[in-house]
Protein backbone atom coordinates (compact mmCIF):
# COMPACT_ATOMS: atom_id res chain seq x y z
CA UNK A 1 0.00 0.00 0.00
CA UNK A 2 2.62 2.42 1.15
CA UNK A 3 4.84 1.55 -1.72
CA UNK A 4 2.21 2.16 -4.32
CA UNK A 5 1.36 5.42 -2.66
CA UNK A 6 4.98 6.39 -2.92
CA UNK A 7 4.84 5.66 -6.58
CA UNK A 8 2.00 8.10 -6.82
CA UNK A 9 -0.41 5.53 -8.21
CA UNK A 10 -3.15 6.43 -5.80
CA UNK A 11 -5.56 9.30 -5.97
CA UNK A 12 -7.69 10.67 -3.20
CA UNK A 13 -10.86 12.55 -3.93
CA UNK A 14 -13.54 13.47 -1.55
CA UNK A 15 -16.83 11.82 -2.26
CA UNK A 16 -18.53 15.16 -2.03
CA UNK A 17 -16.48 16.30 -5.02
CA UNK A 18 -17.70 13.47 -7.21
CA UNK A 19 -21.25 13.42 -5.96
CA UNK A 20 -22.24 16.71 -4.41
CA UNK A 21 -24.61 16.24 -1.53
CA UNK A 22 -27.26 18.42 -3.12
CA UNK A 23 -27.16 16.47 -6.34
CA UNK A 24 -27.54 13.24 -4.48
CA UNK A 25 -30.44 14.68 -2.58
CA UNK A 26 -32.01 15.87 -5.82
CA UNK A 27 -31.65 12.38 -7.18
CA UNK A 28 -33.31 11.04 -4.07
CA UNK A 29 -36.19 13.42 -4.55
CA UNK A 30 -36.59 12.49 -8.17
CA UNK A 31 -36.62 8.80 -7.39
CA UNK A 32 -39.05 9.35 -4.58
CA UNK A 33 -41.37 11.14 -6.96
CA UNK A 34 -41.21 8.20 -9.29
CA UNK A 35 -41.87 5.94 -6.38
CA UNK A 36 -44.95 7.89 -5.42
CA UNK A 37 -46.19 7.65 -9.01
CA UNK A 38 -45.75 3.93 -9.01
CA UNK A 39 -47.48 3.74 -5.67
CA UNK A 40 -50.47 5.58 -7.10
CA UNK A 41 -50.53 3.22 -10.03
CA UNK A 42 -50.39 0.30 -7.68
CA UNK A 43 -53.28 1.74 -5.72
CA UNK A 44 -55.28 2.13 -8.90
CA UNK A 45 -54.63 -1.44 -9.98
CA UNK A 46 -55.56 -2.67 -6.51
CA UNK A 47 -58.84 -0.78 -6.89
CA UNK A 48 -59.43 -2.56 -10.18
CA UNK A 49 -58.80 -5.86 -8.52
CA UNK A 50 -61.29 -5.22 -5.76
CA UNK A 51 -63.86 -3.97 -8.33
CA UNK A 52 -63.26 -7.09 -10.33
CA UNK A 53 -63.77 -9.41 -7.40
CA UNK A 54 -66.96 -7.54 -6.44
CA UNK A 55 -68.20 -7.93 -9.98
CA UNK A 56 -67.44 -11.61 -9.93
CA UNK A 57 -69.51 -11.98 -6.76
CA UNK A 58 -72.39 -10.06 -8.29
CA UNK A 59 -72.35 -11.99 -11.55
CA UNK A 60 -72.29 -15.22 -9.63
CA UNK A 61 -75.33 -14.19 -7.60
CA UNK A 62 -77.40 -12.79 -10.48
CA UNK A 63 -78.68 -16.06 -11.91
CA UNK A 64 -79.80 -17.24 -8.50
CA UNK A 65 -83.12 -15.58 -9.10
CA UNK A 66 -85.23 -15.25 -12.20
CA UNK A 67 -85.51 -11.51 -11.80
CA UNK A 68 -84.26 -8.76 -9.53
CA UNK A 69 -86.04 -5.64 -8.48
CA UNK A 70 -83.68 -2.76 -9.10
CA UNK A 71 -83.57 1.01 -9.29
CA UNK A 72 -82.64 1.97 -12.82
CA UNK A 73 -80.71 5.17 -13.35
CA UNK A 74 -82.25 7.30 -16.04
CA UNK A 75 -80.33 10.28 -17.15
CA UNK A 76 -78.28 12.19 -14.64
CA UNK A 77 -80.63 12.68 -11.80
CA UNK A 78 -83.59 10.39 -12.31
CA UNK A 79 -84.09 6.85 -11.09
CA UNK A 80 -87.10 4.66 -11.45
CA UNK A 81 -87.86 1.21 -10.21
CA UNK A 82 -87.34 -1.64 -12.64
CA UNK A 83 -86.91 -5.34 -12.92
CA UNK A 84 -83.79 -7.11 -14.04
CA UNK A 85 -84.75 -10.14 -16.10
CA UNK A 86 -82.66 -12.56 -18.19
CA UNK A 87 -80.33 -12.85 -15.25
CA UNK A 88 -78.15 -15.37 -16.96
CA UNK A 89 -77.46 -13.38 -20.11
CA UNK A 90 -74.69 -10.88 -19.86
CA UNK A 91 -73.18 -8.71 -22.52
CA UNK A 92 -69.51 -8.53 -21.75
CA UNK A 93 -67.28 -5.80 -23.08
CA UNK A 94 -64.13 -7.51 -24.20
CA UNK A 95 -62.37 -4.29 -25.06
CA UNK A 96 -61.92 -2.18 -28.20
CA UNK A 97 -65.68 -1.97 -28.62
CA UNK A 98 -66.21 -5.69 -28.91
CA UNK A 99 -69.00 -7.25 -26.89
CA UNK A 100 -69.90 -10.84 -26.46
CA UNK A 101 -73.05 -12.45 -25.14
CA UNK A 102 -72.11 -14.69 -22.28
CA UNK A 103 -73.76 -16.63 -19.56
CA UNK A 104 -73.05 -15.76 -15.98
CA UNK A 105 -70.65 -18.66 -15.58
CA UNK A 106 -68.71 -17.76 -18.71
CA UNK A 107 -68.59 -14.17 -17.56
CA UNK A 108 -67.08 -15.18 -14.27
CA UNK A 109 -64.39 -17.06 -16.17
CA UNK A 110 -63.59 -13.99 -18.23
CA UNK A 111 -63.49 -11.84 -15.13
CA UNK A 112 -61.18 -14.25 -13.38
CA UNK A 113 -58.80 -14.15 -16.31
CA UNK A 114 -58.81 -10.39 -16.10
CA UNK A 115 -58.11 -10.67 -12.40
CA UNK A 116 -55.03 -12.71 -13.15
CA UNK A 117 -53.75 -10.08 -15.57
CA UNK A 118 -54.26 -7.46 -12.88
CA UNK A 119 -52.38 -9.56 -10.35
CA UNK A 120 -49.41 -9.86 -12.67
CA UNK A 121 -49.50 -6.10 -13.12
CA UNK A 122 -49.38 -5.68 -9.36
CA UNK A 123 -46.40 -7.97 -9.16
CA UNK A 124 -44.46 -6.05 -11.79
CA UNK A 125 -45.30 -2.78 -10.08
CA UNK A 126 -44.06 -4.15 -6.80
CA UNK A 127 -40.81 -5.21 -8.42
CA UNK A 128 -40.37 -1.74 -9.84
CA UNK A 129 -41.05 -0.29 -6.44
CA UNK A 130 -38.44 -2.49 -4.84
CA UNK A 131 -35.89 -1.31 -7.37
CA UNK A 132 -36.78 2.29 -6.78
CA UNK A 133 -36.56 1.87 -3.03
CA UNK A 134 -33.10 0.37 -3.36
CA UNK A 135 -32.14 3.30 -5.54
CA UNK A 136 -33.45 5.75 -2.98
CA UNK A 137 -31.53 4.18 -0.15
CA UNK A 138 -28.40 4.16 -2.28
CA UNK A 139 -28.74 7.82 -3.15
CA UNK A 140 -29.58 8.57 0.45
CA UNK A 141 -26.47 6.89 1.75
CA UNK A 142 -24.38 8.54 -0.93
CA UNK A 143 -25.77 11.92 0.07
CA UNK A 144 -25.11 11.36 3.74
CA UNK A 145 -21.63 10.03 3.02
CA UNK A 146 -20.85 13.01 0.85
CA UNK A 147 -22.13 15.27 3.59
CA UNK A 148 -19.91 13.53 6.09
CA UNK A 149 -16.91 14.24 3.88
CA UNK A 150 -16.05 10.68 2.98
CA UNK A 151 -12.95 10.25 0.87
CA UNK A 152 -12.69 8.08 -2.18
CA UNK A 153 -9.28 6.49 -2.51
CA UNK A 154 -8.37 4.81 -5.76
CA UNK A 155 -5.13 3.01 -6.14
CA UNK A 156 -3.69 0.96 -8.95
CA UNK A 157 -3.22 -2.62 -8.06
CA UNK A 158 0.47 -3.40 -8.16
CA UNK A 159 0.88 -7.02 -8.87
CA UNK A 160 4.62 -7.23 -8.45
CA UNK A 161 4.39 -6.05 -4.90
CA UNK A 162 5.48 -9.15 -3.09
CA UNK A 163 4.52 -8.01 0.39
CA UNK A 164 1.04 -7.31 -0.77
CA UNK A 165 0.81 -10.65 -2.38
CA UNK A 166 1.88 -12.38 0.73
CA UNK A 167 -0.73 -10.74 2.82
CA UNK A 168 -3.40 -11.10 0.20
CA UNK A 169 -2.97 -14.67 -0.72
CA UNK A 170 -2.04 -16.79 2.17
CA UNK A 171 0.81 -19.24 1.99
CA UNK A 172 -1.39 -22.22 1.14
CA UNK A 173 -2.55 -20.62 -2.03
CA UNK A 174 0.77 -19.24 -2.94
CA UNK A 175 2.72 -22.21 -4.02
CA UNK A 176 0.77 -23.28 -7.05
CA UNK A 177 0.33 -19.90 -8.77
CA UNK A 178 3.79 -18.78 -7.88
CA UNK A 179 5.27 -21.70 -9.54
CA UNK A 180 3.82 -20.89 -12.84
CA UNK A 181 5.14 -17.43 -12.35
CA UNK A 182 8.50 -18.73 -11.37
CA UNK A 183 8.49 -20.62 -14.58
CA UNK A 184 7.80 -17.49 -16.49
CA UNK A 185 10.45 -15.39 -14.81
CA UNK A 186 13.35 -17.26 -13.42
CA UNK A 187 14.30 -15.05 -10.56
CA UNK A 188 11.20 -12.99 -10.14
CA UNK A 189 10.15 -10.91 -7.23
CA UNK A 190 8.35 -13.87 -5.76
CA UNK A 191 11.64 -15.55 -5.25
CA UNK A 192 12.54 -13.05 -2.65
CA UNK A 193 9.39 -13.83 -0.86
CA UNK A 194 10.17 -17.50 -0.98
CA UNK A 195 13.69 -16.82 0.07
CA UNK A 196 12.32 -15.05 3.10
CA UNK A 197 10.04 -17.88 3.98
CA UNK A 198 12.74 -20.37 3.38
CA UNK A 199 15.25 -18.43 5.38
CA UNK A 200 12.91 -18.61 8.29
CA UNK A 201 12.60 -22.30 7.79
CA UNK A 202 16.30 -22.63 7.44
CA UNK A 203 16.89 -20.80 10.65
CA UNK A 204 14.42 -23.01 12.31
CA UNK A 205 16.06 -26.06 10.89
CA UNK A 206 19.44 -24.92 11.99
CA UNK A 207 18.22 -24.44 15.46
CA UNK A 208 16.60 -27.79 15.40
CA UNK A 209 19.80 -29.36 14.31
CA UNK A 210 21.84 -27.59 16.91
CA UNK A 211 19.40 -28.50 19.58
CA UNK A 212 19.43 -32.09 18.52
CA UNK A 213 23.18 -32.20 18.32
CA UNK A 214 23.56 -30.78 21.74
CA UNK A 215 20.88 -32.79 23.39
CA UNK A 216 21.49 -36.07 21.79
CA UNK A 217 24.61 -36.71 23.70
CA UNK A 218 22.69 -36.24 26.92
CA UNK A 219 19.24 -37.72 26.51
CA UNK A 220 18.46 -38.56 22.99
CA UNK A 221 15.05 -40.06 23.39
CA UNK A 222 13.60 -37.35 25.53
CA UNK A 223 14.85 -34.72 23.26
CA UNK A 224 13.33 -36.55 20.40
CA UNK A 225 10.00 -36.58 22.16
CA UNK A 226 10.16 -32.86 22.69
CA UNK A 227 11.27 -32.33 19.16
CA UNK A 228 8.44 -34.51 18.11
CA UNK A 229 5.92 -32.09 19.42
CA UNK A 230 7.68 -29.11 18.04
CA UNK A 231 7.98 -30.68 14.68
CA UNK A 232 4.42 -31.80 14.74
CA UNK A 233 3.32 -28.26 15.33
CA UNK A 234 5.45 -26.88 12.59
CA UNK A 235 4.71 -29.70 10.30
CA UNK A 236 0.99 -29.38 10.67
CA UNK A 237 1.34 -25.86 9.35
CA UNK A 238 3.61 -26.89 6.60
CA UNK A 239 1.48 -29.91 5.88
CA UNK A 240 -1.31 -27.68 4.81
CA UNK A 241 0.92 -26.18 2.22
CA UNK A 242 2.29 -29.49 1.25
CA UNK A 243 -1.03 -31.22 0.89
CA UNK A 244 -2.23 -28.90 -1.79
CA UNK A 245 0.94 -29.45 -3.66
CA UNK A 246 0.71 -33.13 -3.23
CA UNK A 247 -2.80 -33.35 -4.46
CA UNK A 248 -1.87 -31.55 -7.60
CA UNK A 249 1.30 -33.46 -8.21
CA UNK A 250 0.47 -36.77 -6.68
CA UNK A 251 -0.01 -38.40 -9.98
CA UNK A 252 3.02 -36.95 -11.57
CA UNK A 253 5.13 -37.93 -8.66
CA UNK A 254 3.64 -41.36 -8.69
CA UNK A 255 4.68 -41.74 -12.25
CA UNK A 256 8.17 -40.64 -11.48
CA UNK A 257 8.11 -42.81 -8.48
CA UNK A 258 7.27 -45.84 -10.50
CA UNK A 259 10.03 -45.10 -12.89
CA UNK A 260 12.58 -45.50 -10.21
CA UNK A 261 14.01 -49.00 -10.35
CA UNK A 262 14.43 -49.78 -6.70
CA UNK A 263 11.07 -48.69 -5.53
CA UNK A 264 9.77 -52.11 -4.68
CA UNK A 265 12.18 -52.47 -1.84
CA UNK A 266 10.45 -49.64 -0.13
CA UNK A 267 10.83 -49.71 3.57
CA UNK A 268 7.50 -50.42 5.21
CA UNK A 269 8.33 -48.05 7.97
CA UNK A 270 8.73 -45.33 5.50
CA UNK A 271 5.42 -46.13 3.92
CA UNK A 272 3.84 -44.32 6.77
CA UNK A 273 5.38 -41.13 5.64
CA UNK A 274 2.82 -38.87 4.13
CA UNK A 275 4.85 -37.28 1.37
CA UNK A 276 5.72 -39.21 -1.68
CA UNK A 277 8.73 -37.14 -2.20
CA UNK A 278 10.23 -37.84 1.15
CA UNK A 279 9.68 -41.51 0.58
CA UNK A 280 11.31 -41.20 -2.70
CA UNK A 281 14.22 -39.41 -1.25
CA UNK A 282 14.76 -41.74 1.59
CA UNK A 283 14.52 -44.61 -0.75
CA UNK A 284 17.07 -43.22 -3.02
CA UNK A 285 19.32 -42.63 -0.15
CA UNK A 286 18.79 -46.17 0.89
CA UNK A 287 19.44 -47.42 -2.52
CA UNK A 288 22.61 -45.60 -2.70
CA UNK A 289 23.78 -45.97 0.81
CA UNK A 290 22.67 -48.86 2.88
CA UNK A 291 24.14 -46.87 5.68
CA UNK A 292 21.10 -44.70 5.64
CA UNK A 293 18.96 -47.71 6.19
CA UNK A 294 21.06 -48.71 9.09
CA UNK A 295 20.65 -45.34 10.50
CA UNK A 296 16.95 -45.39 10.02
CA UNK A 297 16.67 -48.65 11.80
CA UNK A 298 18.78 -47.17 14.50
CA UNK A 299 16.34 -44.38 14.73
CA UNK A 300 13.44 -46.77 15.02
CA UNK A 301 12.26 -45.43 18.34
CA UNK A 302 11.94 -42.11 16.65
CA UNK A 303 10.02 -43.54 13.80
CA UNK A 304 6.96 -41.50 14.37
CA UNK A 305 9.09 -38.44 14.47
CA UNK A 306 10.76 -39.41 11.30
CA UNK A 307 7.45 -40.08 9.68
CA UNK A 308 6.06 -36.81 10.72
CA UNK A 309 9.12 -35.12 9.51
CA UNK A 310 8.99 -37.03 6.34
CA UNK A 311 5.95 -35.18 5.28
CA UNK A 312 8.32 -32.31 4.89
CA UNK A 313 11.69 -32.55 3.41
CA UNK A 314 12.94 -31.24 6.71
CA UNK A 315 13.05 -34.74 7.96
CA UNK A 316 15.99 -35.38 5.83
CA UNK A 317 17.83 -32.60 7.43
CA UNK A 318 17.21 -33.73 10.92
CA UNK A 319 17.95 -37.27 10.03
CA UNK A 320 21.44 -36.64 8.84
CA UNK A 321 22.01 -34.60 11.92
CA UNK A 322 21.03 -37.49 14.07
CA UNK A 323 23.28 -39.53 12.04
CA UNK A 324 25.99 -37.05 12.59
CA UNK A 325 25.87 -37.62 16.26
CA UNK A 326 25.79 -41.33 15.79
CA UNK A 327 28.50 -41.53 13.31
CA UNK A 328 29.79 -38.80 11.14
CA UNK A 329 30.91 -41.09 8.47
CA UNK A 330 27.31 -41.90 7.78
CA UNK A 331 26.49 -38.30 7.46
CA UNK A 332 29.26 -37.83 5.02
CA UNK A 333 27.98 -40.71 3.06
CA UNK A 334 24.62 -39.21 2.85
CA UNK A 335 25.96 -35.87 1.97
CA UNK A 336 28.14 -37.28 -0.66
CA UNK A 337 25.22 -39.14 -2.02
CA UNK A 338 23.14 -36.07 -2.40
CA UNK A 339 24.80 -34.55 -5.44
CA UNK A 340 24.27 -37.62 -7.59
CA UNK A 341 20.74 -37.75 -6.34
CA UNK A 342 20.31 -34.24 -7.36
CA UNK A 343 21.58 -35.05 -10.75
CA UNK A 344 19.26 -37.96 -10.88
CA UNK A 345 16.30 -36.03 -9.69
CA UNK A 346 16.72 -32.89 -11.64
CA UNK A 347 15.20 -34.19 -14.83
CA UNK A 348 12.27 -35.28 -12.74
CA UNK A 349 11.88 -31.90 -11.29
CA UNK A 350 11.95 -30.58 -14.72
CA UNK A 351 9.14 -32.85 -15.67
CA UNK A 352 7.16 -32.11 -12.63
CA UNK A 353 7.13 -28.44 -12.22
CA UNK A 354 9.90 -26.53 -13.77
CA UNK A 355 10.60 -25.68 -17.32
CA UNK A 356 13.80 -27.13 -18.56
CA UNK A 357 15.79 -23.93 -18.85
CA UNK A 358 15.01 -22.90 -15.31
CA UNK A 359 16.12 -26.04 -13.57
CA UNK A 360 19.18 -26.30 -15.66
CA UNK A 361 20.22 -22.81 -15.00
CA UNK A 362 19.75 -23.41 -11.34
CA UNK A 363 22.14 -26.26 -11.11
CA UNK A 364 25.27 -24.23 -11.48
CA UNK A 365 23.97 -21.24 -9.58
CA UNK A 366 22.25 -23.05 -6.81
CA UNK A 367 24.28 -21.81 -3.90
CA UNK A 368 24.42 -18.26 -5.10
CA UNK A 369 20.79 -17.98 -6.04
CA UNK A 370 18.78 -16.73 -3.17
CA UNK A 371 15.48 -18.01 -4.40
CA UNK A 372 16.63 -21.41 -5.34
CA UNK A 373 15.21 -23.41 -2.53
CA UNK A 374 12.44 -20.92 -2.24
CA UNK A 375 11.31 -21.59 -5.74
CA UNK A 376 11.09 -25.21 -5.08
CA UNK A 377 9.91 -24.85 -1.56
CA UNK A 378 6.61 -26.59 -1.90
CA UNK A 379 6.98 -28.45 -5.12
CA UNK A 380 6.78 -31.77 -3.48
CA UNK A 381 9.88 -32.92 -5.25
CA UNK A 382 12.80 -33.99 -3.19
CA UNK A 383 15.77 -32.49 -4.74
CA UNK A 384 15.55 -29.23 -3.05
CA UNK A 385 15.33 -30.98 0.22
CA UNK A 386 18.27 -33.14 -0.55
CA UNK A 387 19.94 -30.07 -1.64
CA UNK A 388 19.05 -28.35 1.57
CA UNK A 389 20.31 -31.24 3.53
CA UNK A 390 23.45 -31.02 1.69
CA UNK A 391 23.76 -27.40 2.47
CA UNK A 392 22.58 -27.37 5.99
CA UNK A 393 24.38 -30.35 7.28
CA UNK A 394 27.63 -29.91 5.47
CA UNK A 395 27.86 -26.22 6.11
CA UNK A 396 25.36 -24.94 8.49
CA UNK A 397 26.22 -21.40 7.76
CA UNK A 398 24.95 -21.99 4.28
CA UNK A 399 21.55 -20.76 5.28
CA UNK A 400 22.66 -17.20 5.24
CA UNK A 401 24.32 -17.60 1.90
CA UNK A 402 21.27 -19.33 0.60
CA UNK A 403 19.06 -16.52 1.55
CA UNK A 404 20.79 -13.21 1.44
CA UNK A 405 17.44 -11.51 1.66
CA UNK A 406 16.74 -13.11 4.98
CA UNK A 407 17.05 -11.24 8.21
CA UNK A 408 20.44 -12.23 9.50
CA UNK A 409 20.17 -9.70 12.27
CA UNK A 410 17.20 -11.55 13.67
CA UNK A 411 18.72 -13.73 16.35
CA UNK A 412 15.81 -16.07 16.99
CA UNK A 413 13.35 -17.27 14.42
CA UNK A 414 9.65 -16.85 14.81
CA UNK A 415 9.19 -20.56 15.15
CA UNK A 416 11.81 -20.85 17.75
CA UNK A 417 10.27 -18.11 19.81
CA UNK A 418 7.04 -19.97 19.70
CA UNK A 419 8.72 -23.05 20.88
CA UNK A 420 10.50 -21.68 23.84
Amino acid sequence: MGESAKKGAGTVTSLAEMFPAEDAQKAVKRVQEKLAEIQNELHRVRGFISDNSNLINLVQKLPEQLHHNIIVPFGKAAFFPGRLIHTNEIMVLLGEGYYAERTSKQTVEILKRRGKVLESQVESLKAIMRDLKAETSFFDSTASEAAEGLLEITEDYVEENSTERESESGPPKEDAPNFSEAEKAKVSVEDEEYARIMSKLDELEKEELEAECGNETVEENEQVAVDDEEYARLMSRLDELEKEELEAEDEKIKDDFNKLPDQKSLDTNLRHSEGYQSRELLEQMKDKKSATEEFLSKCDPQKDLTNQLNCMGLAVQSVPEDEKSHGKSLLHNVIKSSPPEKALMLPEVKENVQPAPLSRSEVPAESSKPGFDAQKAFTGSIIERTHNTHFNSSQESATSSQSPSSQPSKPVSRFKMQRR
Binding site: M91, L93, L94, G95, E96, G97, Y98, Y99, A100, E101, R102, I110, R113, R114, V117
Partner: protein, 130 residues
Protein backbone atom coordinates in the same frame (compact mmCIF):
# COMPACT_ATOMS: atom_id res chain seq x y z
CA UNK B 1 -15.14 45.56 -32.29
CA UNK B 2 -15.29 42.59 -34.65
CA UNK B 3 -15.13 40.26 -31.70
CA UNK B 4 -18.38 41.65 -30.32
CA UNK B 5 -20.16 41.08 -33.65
CA UNK B 6 -18.81 37.55 -33.75
CA UNK B 7 -20.04 37.09 -30.24
CA UNK B 8 -23.46 38.38 -31.17
CA UNK B 9 -23.65 36.04 -34.12
CA UNK B 10 -22.63 33.16 -31.97
CA UNK B 11 -25.28 34.02 -29.45
CA UNK B 12 -27.90 34.16 -32.17
CA UNK B 13 -26.75 30.81 -33.41
CA UNK B 14 -26.88 29.50 -29.90
CA UNK B 15 -30.44 30.66 -29.42
CA UNK B 16 -31.56 29.13 -32.70
CA UNK B 17 -29.98 25.85 -31.80
CA UNK B 18 -31.46 25.77 -28.35
CA UNK B 19 -34.87 26.43 -29.92
CA UNK B 20 -34.31 23.49 -32.22
CA UNK B 21 -33.34 21.40 -29.26
CA UNK B 22 -36.44 22.26 -27.30
CA UNK B 23 -38.54 21.43 -30.38
CA UNK B 24 -36.82 18.09 -30.63
CA UNK B 25 -37.45 17.44 -26.99
CA UNK B 26 -41.10 18.22 -27.44
CA UNK B 27 -41.27 15.81 -30.35
CA UNK B 28 -39.66 13.15 -28.26
CA UNK B 29 -42.10 13.58 -25.43
CA UNK B 30 -44.98 13.50 -27.92
CA UNK B 31 -43.57 10.34 -29.37
CA UNK B 32 -43.46 8.87 -25.89
CA UNK B 33 -47.08 9.70 -25.29
CA UNK B 34 -48.24 8.21 -28.56
CA UNK B 35 -46.20 5.15 -27.91
CA UNK B 36 -47.73 4.76 -24.48
CA UNK B 37 -51.21 4.98 -25.98
CA UNK B 38 -50.42 2.39 -28.60
CA UNK B 39 -48.89 0.01 -26.11
CA UNK B 40 -52.02 0.20 -24.01
CA UNK B 41 -54.16 -0.46 -27.08
CA UNK B 42 -51.97 -3.35 -28.04
CA UNK B 43 -52.43 -4.91 -24.63
CA UNK B 44 -56.19 -4.44 -24.82
CA UNK B 45 -56.38 -5.96 -28.28
CA UNK B 46 -54.35 -8.91 -27.21
CA UNK B 47 -56.75 -9.46 -24.33
CA UNK B 48 -59.70 -9.27 -26.72
CA UNK B 49 -58.05 -11.72 -29.06
CA UNK B 50 -57.50 -14.14 -26.23
CA UNK B 51 -61.13 -13.94 -25.19
CA UNK B 52 -62.36 -14.29 -28.77
CA UNK B 53 -60.23 -17.36 -29.18
CA UNK B 54 -61.83 -18.86 -26.11
CA UNK B 55 -65.37 -18.13 -27.30
CA UNK B 56 -67.46 -20.85 -28.90
CA UNK B 57 -68.12 -20.74 -32.61
CA UNK B 58 -71.80 -19.96 -32.10
CA UNK B 59 -71.28 -17.15 -29.62
CA UNK B 60 -72.80 -13.79 -30.48
CA UNK B 61 -70.25 -11.04 -30.85
CA UNK B 62 -71.15 -7.39 -31.22
CA UNK B 63 -69.12 -4.38 -32.07
CA UNK B 64 -69.99 -1.01 -30.65
CA UNK B 65 -70.00 1.44 -33.51
CA UNK B 66 -71.06 4.83 -32.38
CA UNK B 67 -74.23 4.43 -30.36
CA UNK B 68 -75.24 1.03 -31.76
CA UNK B 69 -74.13 -2.49 -31.22
CA UNK B 70 -73.63 -4.20 -34.56
CA UNK B 71 -73.67 -7.93 -34.64
CA UNK B 72 -70.52 -9.40 -36.06
CA UNK B 73 -69.36 -12.76 -37.15
CA UNK B 74 -66.91 -14.26 -34.69
CA UNK B 75 -64.39 -15.07 -37.42
CA UNK B 76 -64.73 -11.57 -38.80
CA UNK B 77 -64.20 -10.04 -35.38
CA UNK B 78 -61.21 -12.24 -34.85
CA UNK B 79 -59.68 -11.22 -38.16
CA UNK B 80 -60.35 -7.58 -37.39
CA UNK B 81 -58.65 -7.74 -34.06
CA UNK B 82 -55.65 -9.50 -35.56
CA UNK B 83 -55.35 -6.84 -38.21
CA UNK B 84 -55.60 -4.17 -35.57
CA UNK B 85 -52.81 -5.80 -33.56
CA UNK B 86 -50.64 -5.99 -36.65
CA UNK B 87 -51.23 -2.37 -37.38
CA UNK B 88 -50.44 -1.30 -33.85
CA UNK B 89 -47.24 -3.35 -33.79
CA UNK B 90 -46.12 -1.80 -37.06
CA UNK B 91 -46.96 1.61 -35.70
CA UNK B 92 -44.97 0.95 -32.55
CA UNK B 93 -41.99 -0.10 -34.60
CA UNK B 94 -42.23 3.02 -36.67
CA UNK B 95 -42.43 5.13 -33.55
CA UNK B 96 -39.38 3.39 -32.14
CA UNK B 97 -37.42 4.22 -35.25
CA UNK B 98 -38.59 7.79 -35.07
CA UNK B 99 -37.64 8.04 -31.45
CA UNK B 100 -34.14 6.79 -32.12
CA UNK B 101 -33.75 9.29 -34.90
CA UNK B 102 -34.96 12.09 -32.71
CA UNK B 103 -32.68 11.12 -29.87
CA UNK B 104 -29.69 11.04 -32.17
CA UNK B 105 -30.56 14.49 -33.43
CA UNK B 106 -31.05 15.67 -29.90
CA UNK B 107 -27.64 14.43 -28.85
CA UNK B 108 -25.86 16.03 -31.77
CA UNK B 109 -27.72 19.28 -31.07
CA UNK B 110 -26.71 19.12 -27.44
CA UNK B 111 -23.10 18.67 -28.40
CA UNK B 112 -23.23 21.55 -30.84
CA UNK B 113 -24.80 23.75 -28.21
CA UNK B 114 -22.17 22.78 -25.69
CA UNK B 115 -19.41 23.69 -28.12
CA UNK B 116 -21.06 27.00 -28.87
CA UNK B 117 -21.35 27.71 -25.20
CA UNK B 118 -17.66 27.07 -24.74
CA UNK B 119 -16.76 29.34 -27.60
CA UNK B 120 -18.94 32.09 -26.27
CA UNK B 121 -17.45 31.74 -22.84
CA UNK B 122 -13.89 31.85 -24.12
CA UNK B 123 -14.72 34.88 -26.22
CA UNK B 124 -16.26 36.59 -23.27
CA UNK B 125 -13.26 35.77 -21.12
CA UNK B 126 -10.95 37.19 -23.81
CA UNK B 127 -13.05 40.31 -23.92
CA UNK B 128 -12.96 40.70 -20.18
CA UNK B 129 -9.18 40.51 -20.25
CA UNK B 130 -8.91 43.00 -23.07
Amino acid sequence: MSSSTVLRELQRDFEAKSNDLSKLQKDISKNHQVRKKYTIQLGENELVLKELDILNEDANVYKLIGPVLVKQDLAEANANVRKRIEYISAELKRLDGNLQDLEEKQNSKKEAIFKLQERIQSLQAGKAKA
